[in-house]
């Protein structure tokens, strides 16, 4: 039985209230206005007063518009037919394909029992040396990319999506600029990856509330595919927009803000999404990479700050490069001892020398005289930045390791690198030694 009401009591922000009975918490409703139909979700019940957040926004809602409760919470279709399809933040197709209504599953399901989790064990290769070599991405990891607006984080995500060794990609766009959406679509199409992707895209021009559902939609679908044995990579961009949408609703609902206007449950809300990353012992996995833009390049801003406490490390994207110092993959230790003998040594060695290069570079900028050693470091730093750090570098891990040795050999003697003797014997380039 469907229940229809047509007396709206209040409209505040994107929240409307209506008097209704037998309504369930988080149930969906359909609001029909002169502009068309929109979904709305129950966010508060008080006696017979029901508060709903309207996905399409409240503009143009008339007090006598029709509200029809659907009797179910937010759901999404799940089938192989989704592959290659693009949906909006309400789960409605954005492409010209047919609507999918088979096998509807609930979103935002229960969390995984910690007792059923396993210690992460498999690396995901991306062919980006700054990731593979220095901060390896691991199956079931949740990692944000911290960057300021304007950095090429979407380009980076698209590249990882194309190159990562995964079975499937689920892309969630929250407040994504339209041209960025097209960029993702075209890049994945040209790379031949669109047919193993599902998009849930909420663009910057869509009503902000609609973006709230995107992470849950993506993760619910990803989780189901993972249970069917697929290794799924979920890309979310940009989670700061998601947090801002939460903020907007919280303020509309007159919740007491905690920090810079964000609601007190921001941590729990973000964690509920990121913690969906998982490696199922007997099935597939979900790995989450999310762009988080830092307003004002401030890592103590509530969104990156709370994110940092939740995720297993972070990549800092600065000046178009993945920063080697602030970036961290907390899970890399689980995998980088199983790749090649020299992986950890090269990882540490190159970074230590690069840190020394930075100090020298500072001294040089201040006009100090450069010693022979300083000159070697300067040469090294330049080579490292252009051949290794540049985002366009696209090589397999083993080639990156060889490249590391090559750069070292071009700049230093083996002793100066403080590499272990047995590794030098094995890997130091022959022609240069």
């Amino acid at each position: 039985m469907q229940k229809v009401y047509n007396k709206i009591l209040s409209v505040t922000g994107n929240v409307i209230t209506v008097r209704a009975s037998d309504v369930a918490y988080e149930e969906l409703a359909e609001v029909t206005t002169q502009r068309g139909k929109s979904l709305a979700q129950v966010i508060k019940l008080e006696n017979d007063i029901v508060s709903l957040q309207v996905f399409a926004g409240s503009q143009g809602i008339a007090t006598n518009d029709e509200i029809r409760f659907l009797g179910n919470p937010m759901r999404v279709t799940f089938s192989n037919n989704m592959l290659g399809r693009i949906f909006n933040g309400s789960g409605v197709p954005r492409d010209r394909g047919p609507a999918l209504t088979e096998n509807m599953i609930e979103i935002a399901g229960p969390s995984v029992n910690p007792a059923k989790r396993i210690i992460p064990r498999n690396m995901i290769r991306t062919n980006i040396p700054m990731i593979d070599l220095f901060n390896s991405l691991v199956v079931s990891q949740k990692l944000p990319i911290f960057s300021v607006s304007g950095e090429p984080y979407n380009e980076l995500l698209a590249r990882i999506a194309l190159q990562a060794e995964v079975d499937m990609i689920v892309l969630g766009g929250i407040g994504l600029k339209y041209d960025q959406y097209l960029y993702f679509k075209n890049t994945l199409e040209e790379g031949g990856a669109l047919s193993r992707s599902v998009f849930f895209v909420h663009t910057a021009s869509d009503p902000i509330v609609e973006g709230l559902m995107v992470p849950d939609l993506c993760l619910a679908v990803a989780e189901r595919f993972a249970l069917k044995g697929k290794n799924v990579l979920v890309l979310l961009t940009d989670m700061t927009n998601f947090a801002d949408a939460l903020k907007e609703i919280a303020i509309t609902m007159e919740q007491v803000p905690s920090n810079r206007g964000y609601p007190g449950d921001l941590y729990s809300q973000l964690a509920a999404r990121y913690e969906k990353a998982v490696d199922f012992d007997t099935a597939g996995s979900v790995t989450v990479l999310a762009a988080t833009t830092m307003p004002g390049d401030d890592v103590t801003h509530p969104v990156p700050d709370n994110t940092g406490y939740i995720t297993e490390g972070q990549f800092y994207l600065r000046n178009g490069r993945i920063e080697p110092f602030g970036s961290l993959s907390r899970l890399k230790q689980q995998v980088n001892d199983k790749t090649r003998d020299d992986h950890r040594a090269i990882m540490d060695g190159l970074i230590q020398l690069y840190a020394q290069y930075n100090e020298t570079e500072e001294k040089r900028a201040m006009g100090f005289r450069m010693s022979e050693w300083d000159k070697k470091l300067l040469k090294y730093g330049k080579l490292f930045e252009s051949n290794m750090m540049d985002l366009s570098v696209n090589i397999a891990l083993e080639d990156a390791l060889d490249l590391g040795w090559k750069i070292l050999a071009e700049c230093f003697t083996p002793e100066e690198t403080r590499m272990k003797t047995d590794l030098v014997k094995k890997f130091w380039p022959k022609e240069a030694a």
Binding site: L45, P73, S111, V112, A115, Y267, E275, D305, I310, E312
Partner: protein, 580 residues
């Protein structure tokens, strides 16, 4: 007794308001019924005939008018044999058993018994027929792993009871009657090996609470020597993300010299608990020769699990800790992180529309934190034995700034402060406890005078370092430069510790005393070093020797050889030795 019933009149996130018909109790448990599911909830506020309840599950699908059944009991845990080695959620649901029944996901509304009611325990009675007992008296014991698990008269029994009957030695299930007691009013009560206890009420069946004196050895040098923790004391570890809070807690949970360790993973990453879950059963506890899991209890309410249960989880952990303390054991409770618990309170307070305090935390934040840490303590039990519960909590301050309500409220009530610093962790100086900002009110097993000397060097060394940043190395005198080198030496050979190394990772008190004597020698000796290069080379050499020494097992003969080399180097360069 007729249970009170109610029906839902409001739903807001994980809070429901319920109209009830009879009497209810603050903190009483009720079940909201939706379809097949029974959602456990707790009364947190009563106003007229409306109860505000926090629901320990997702509230999706609840409706106005849905029924609520009250239980007449406060939120409780089951206390009895079989808790050690278990992995529970915040409400004492056993997670492994849950996984067996329901697979990968935490199914809503499933509540299992915390104890295994089918297992038989070998019970040895110590009380006799005719004995006078009261709440907390010991009836007998069973052996639970390596411990003698005492069986008590339930702690809330008030007044004297006479034992009317008690079973013979033999094996019994936890819910079998093992004794009957009667008070002077003629109330006859049957006792089993387990009973329930409300988590928010501290257990106080002891003679006296004492001042914590004995150190609780963690085998982390900077803690034990400089910022010690006492048995029955409290401490906190605030730090920004990535500073190594969790690693420090994990190391402590492995090496701390406590009988029982309770790990409360409160609102943190599930992945971190998994490491403990998977690795502890395989690690042998050097003190007992048994698996480390046998002395460990894990309370695991990670960040994506329901928030209200997170609020309850620290109380659950404290109650289990107090219970084992009653057996005369030394219990260490590690809560990671108390900020997440405070945030759970904040979420709830917001839903109750209470007037917010600083950063929207409720006004009672400070008193709640104080009450929690006050559950720690060294106590003399009624049988004359001593037992202790030590509480260590991590704090995750927003933006890494310690000037925030949770850190500040915690600092007021704890006995030791281990502040983690981002600078130190960026410089890979682990553990990243800041040696100048941290403090402890407890006494170390090392000589107070020597520690004080060392601390002065650290302090002065830091001053010199700050100055050098301005005037450069050239503008610093050799004397000052040596002080700076000494402080760096202390930092790298003693304060820093490689927690991943099998030898360096854990330093016994004997070894700490032994090594610290030498470190102190180096710090206090006047060396005949004429210029900075010479001084730097000397201290580099010394540092290398000590670091190598740290990696040698004390029983290894190399240990003494290295010691001789160090002694020689000190003597040769001491200015007293000049002219010899």
């Amino acid at each position: 007794m007729n249970k009170t019933k109610g029906s839902i009149v409001g739903i807001n996130g994980n809070m429901i308001s319920v109209v009830f018909d009879d009497n209810i109790i603050q903190n009483e448990v009720g079940y909201a019924i939706t379809g097949e599911d029974r959602l456990k909830s707790e009364v947190i506020k009563i106003q007229g005939n409306i109860a505000f309840m926090q629901v320990f599950e997702i509230t999706k699908g609840l409706k106005i008018g849905d029924k609520v059944e009250f239980t007449g009991e406060m939120l409780s845990v089951q206390l009895g044999p079989g808790i050690l080695g278990m992995v529970y959620d915040g409400l004492q649901n056993p997670l492994n058993e849950l996984a067996e029944l329901h697979g990968f996901f935490l199914k809503r509304g499933v509540i299992l018994d915390a104890l295994d009611f089918n297992k038989k325990w070998e019970f040895t009675p110590t009380a006799k027929k005719g004995d006078t007992v009261t709440g907390g008296s010991i009836l007998g014991h069973v052996s639970e792993g390596i411990f003698e698990h005492k069986i008590f008269v339930p702690f809330d029994y008030q007044g004297n009871f006479t034992v009317k009957s008690i079973v013979d030695k033999g094996s019994y299930k936890v819910d079998q009657v093992i004794a009957t007691v009667e008070n002077d009013k003629g109330d006859k009560l049957e006792l089993m090996m387990y009973f329930d206890w409300p988590v928010k009420i501290p257990i106080t069946n002891y003679r006296e609470k004492m001042v914590p004196k004995e150190p609780l050895v963690t085998q982390t040098r900077i803690i034990d020597t400089f910022f010690p923790v006492a048995r029955g004391g409290t401490y906190c570890i605030p730090g920004p993300f990535g500073a190594g809070k969790t690693v420090l807690q994990q190391v402590t949970s492995r090496f701390a010299e406590a009988d029982i360790v309770i790990i409360a993973a409160c609102g943190e990453r599930a992945g971190e608990v998994v490491e403990t879950l998977r690795k502890f059963p395989e690690i042998t506890d050097p003190r007992t020769g048994k698996s480390l899991m046998e002395r460990t209890i894990i309370i695991c309410n990670t960040s994506s699990m329901p928030v209200a249960a997170r609020e309850a989880s620290v109380y659950t952990a404290a109650t289990l800790g107090e219970y084992y303390r009653q057996m005369g054991l030394n219990v260490l409770l590690l809560a990671d992180s108390t900020s997440r618990w405070a945030q759970a309170m904040r979420e709830l307070s917001g839903r109750l529309e209470e007037i917010p305090g600083e950063e929207a935390f409720p006004a009672y934040l400070e008193s709640r934190i104080a009450q929690f840490y006050e559950r720690a303590g060294l106590v003399e039990l009624n049988d004359g034995n001593m037992g202790s519960l030590t509480i260590g909590g991590t704090v995750s301050p927003a933006g890494g700034n310690f000037e925030e309500p949770v850190t500040q409220s915690t600092l007021k009530v704890v006995g030791a402060f281990h502040g983690l610093s981002r600078d130190r962790s960026n410089a890979r100086r682990y553990p990243a406890i800041h040696p100048l900002e941290s403090w402890s009110k407890y006494k170390s097993f090392n000589q107070p005078k020597s520690i004080d000397d060392a601390r002065k060097i650290l302090f002065k060394g830091n001053e010199v370092h700050q100055m050098m940043l301005v005037v450069g190395e050239e503008g610093t005198s050799v004397e000052d430069y040596i002080i700076y080198l000494k402080s760096e030496f202390l930092d790298s050979v003693y304060l820093q510790q490689n927690s991943f190394d099998s030898v360096d990772g854990a330093t016994s008190p004997e070894r700490q005393k032994y090594v610290f004597k030498y470190v102190h020698d180096v710090l206090m000796t006047e060396f005949s070093l004429k210029e900075k290069n010479e001084a730097r080379n000397f201290f580099n050499k010394m540092r290398q020797l000590f670091i190598d020494w740290n990696y040698i097992d004390m029983k290894d003969e190399e240990f003494n050889k290295q010691e001789a080399v160090i002694t020689k180097l000190i003597e040769e360069n001491s200015s007293d030795a000049e002219g010899i």
